[in-house]
Symmetry: C2
Subunit: 482 residues, 2 copies
């Protein structure tokens, strides 16, 4: 099976989206019928259907019963984000702002409306089912959990993950995995085995603050590559940076990027994989949102294009099964031996019982059923957030338009200071993630990330309205501290 | 309460032990009566009793009914270890040998006789009780475990640990703790926040190979300080090294050191604390064996002497409650903010359910009852191992004589190559830990560490005998590869 097969429909969707973006297709235009498109482009009907479904989820096209597919009028109040300004690709020492501390503290306070950290409402997880499995495990084996389940981790769990890798467009073996305490331990191990202090590493800008903090703590230098809200890391900019600077590795979140929500198009993935090969550098790939494509079309990781073991794929069950279980993994490719050993030295093992429960859950077949429900709920939730933001935020606000995950990236009018908005929202019991924590330099001062991981409710509706009012006031005051 | 109070009896024991060591007290000599000793030295009767009990556990003295306490004839076949040769205190780049990989692999094979890694038999843990608590937690709160329990970790657990700190000779508060995934994550965080690549750090020699691997991986330089099997790190040597070299931190395991089993005397602790103060450097203190004093007298960590927050105390429940639960902690002192934040970035959180179960277990009061049983079992087990080693190992073998924990450090005749012994034992299904993995330089070639964490059994008895035969053969062959 050629590695590109599972991603073909994304390519088609990207192609159509770019036609819309460039104005070649306009609001109201009718798209070719699925059959005609399939015939003309020599792809399967299923591929075109999947592509159209994705475009629909991205609100670029709409289906009119008995008439076909049409280009939608863009949501006026919540336009998609503009293409980002280029960033000079110079390595920068990283200092993550104190906005992070406020954000993390908010996770411990259940009275706060949780629009800050990227986490899900407990009821969205299959937590009852998995807790029942856990209780069954300790009932059946009284001494379960006593012993270390040392690196590389529980065999039955690695076996289940290997099976699932088929759905990721790969065919990994149980020995390709090392179990970790969540994806962040995996990312940290990946950074540690591939880079040395002083090395430059290319990261998307904006990107998840936890990655920036690890880069800072390890004494690495971040080369920030602009990230497009629809397409993710700008591969032209990466290529340029690789030519200009000695870059030793790349970190990316190609599937529903945090914070932008972008799904990197297939063409960019192929180019990125080629660049890794040409420059002989590793990619540290964070795939924690990969299972959360709203249209049920699981995008492959870039790892699927990796022939030489240069990609270290990091995943987790924290965004899909249970955050508190702390079960993640890494597929470290050519760095396997060092990762396995470093995992042992850094934390010896991941919790035994949780590994057992997740393995049983994955083998039960319930996971795929759960995913379908979860994806549909998240799509609905994020849509509700988007509409509410469009209704209550000041003019000039633009919002990302993801097709998976549960995060929105919001660009506010430039007179608004996101850190000030975070502080004022915090006083009203609302957590948000301010833009500046997602960059090494002093960027995204007027951006915020909104967590849509909690079901839409009156409390959340009120919170979004309050945020809109605060933002409107700050916009009028020109961001002055009044 | 002066910090030295809980340790006074150790000081007395050390004093008497040194009299025996120097020959001032000889085999068969009668010690002063407890009352007379107490009166003359101006200490309490309880202190003298505790000191005599410790000396008894160390097999230095014996109680004869109705006669009093007498200096014992040293066990002839298993003499205590010799004072170590001095090590030139030059910073060394660390490379941990591949003996570690063999050792870790042996932990995953239940058919291997587990004398290698430092782990306990599952039945020695209160695993049934704690698994019942865990099952009760998920029964009572169906969504427990869904959410992250972010850094610094579960409040109720930190509260229980704060209460227990009274028994460690301290009075810590719940905010002094950050929960970690075992003590090794704690140690790693401690190294990361106190030291930078290229820094020199003083470590005991021999010391736990996991610490050496972290030092190697972080690009630190190890200054090896000889460790005495009875007294732990040689403080004279440390003082000298601090004068000669720019040392940025110290790592120590003062309570039942791994691998030597040494309990650092109170006098050395006071001197070490003074050196930290004078040189303004941190101590990374591993206290995972602290609860395992066979005479039930819990030695205080050096942290109890720390006034300025320079000591980062690392602990865990892996050697006492359940290894597979992965619950540990750090008391990071003045480094609290950085530790808390780095823990978040490196692994976000420790497993929620395990934190809840351990908190409930500690609050139940069952832990102290369990500890008394466990300590007595370990004392019996280690004694059985010691006697069996004495009976079957070649002449010239010496064995450590710990008073807590479950590890023995064995010095074989110098013609024996421990790595060769490991390989031959491995072929016979017996794991051991070879000496060279416990040092940065090429040291301890003829030493091995024996795990006594599994109850004495015919299989273990056979394994020790086989080891003795293998060692005897290797000794005769002069270590040749035949």
């Amino acid at each position: 099976m050629p590695p590109e097969a599972p991603l073909l429909y994304e390519d088609v969707a990207t192609h159509v989206a770019s036609l819309i973006e460039r104005g070649a297709l306009r609001a109201g235009d009718r798209l070719p019928s699925v059959r005609r498109f399939a015939r003309e482009r020599d792809v399967s009907v299923a591929t075109v259907l999947a592509a159209y479904r994705q475009l629909e989820n991205r609100e670029l096209i709409e289906t009119r019963p008995k008439s076909g597919h049409f280009v939608r009028a863009r949501a006026q109040l919540a336009p998609a984000l503009r293409r980002p300004k280029p960033i000079a690709p110079a390595p920068a020492k990283v200092t993550v702002s104190d906005g992070v501390a406020t954000l993390v503290a908010s996770m411990r306070d259940s009275s706060v409306v949780p629009l800050g950290a990227a986490h899900l409402h407990p009821e969205l997880y299959p937590i009852r089912a998995i807790n029942r499995l856990l209780a069954g495990i300790v009932r059946d084996t009284a001494t379960a959990g006593a012993a270390y389940e040392v690196s590389p981790g529980l065999l039955t769990l690695r076996r289940q993950l290997a099976r699932r890798s088929l759905m990721w467009g790969m065919s990994l073996g149980e020995d390709d995995f090392v179990i970790t305490s969540g994806a962040m331990e995996a990312m940290h191990l990946a950074l540690r085995v591939t880079l040395r202090p002083g090395d430059s590493v290319a990261v998307s800008s904006p990107t998840y603050f936890g990655i920036l903090h690890l880069i800072e703590d390890m004494g690495l230098r971040a080369v920030e590559i602009p990230s497009h809200p629809d397409r993710g890391m700008d591969i032209d900019a990466l290529q340029l940076a690789l030519r200009r600077t000695k870059i030793r590795g790349v970190v990316a979140i190609p599937n529903f990027d945090n914070p932008s929500g972008a799904l990197m198009p297939y063409e960019s993935r192929v180019r990125l994989a080629g660049l890794l090969e040409r420059h002989d550098i590793p990619l540290i790939e964070d795939d924690i949102y990969g299972d959360l494509a709203w249209d049920n079309s699981r995008p492959s990781p870039i790892k699927a294009l990796d022939r030489a073991g240069r990609v270290l794929l990091c995943g987790s069950t924290s965004k899909t099964i249970a955050a508190g279980y702390r079960v993640g993994w890494i597929v470290p490719g050519r760095y396997a031996e060092r990762v396995e050993r470093l995992k042992f030295s850094q934390s010896v093992a991941t919790s035994t019982l949780e590994q057992m429960a997740i393995a049983e859950y994955l083998s039960s077949g319930a996971y795929d059923r759960h995913l379908r429900t979860l994806r549909s709920k998240l799509a609905t939730q994020v849509r509700a957030f988007r509409e509410a933001i469009a209704a209550s935020f000041p003019a000039g606000t633009s919002v990302s338009n993801p097709s998976g995950g549960f995060l929105l990236w919001v660009e506010l009018p430039s007179s608004i200071d996101a850190l000030q908005l975070q502080a004022e929202a915090g006083r009203r019991g609302i957590a948000i993630a301010p833009g500046p924590i997602f960059a090494a330099g002093n960027r995204y001062k007027s951006c915020i990330r909104i967590n849509c991981g909690f079901p839409w409710s009156p409390a959340i509706s009120n919170a979004v309205r309050t945020l809109g009012e605060l933002a409107t006031r700050l916009a009028k005051n020109g961001g002055s501290h009044g």
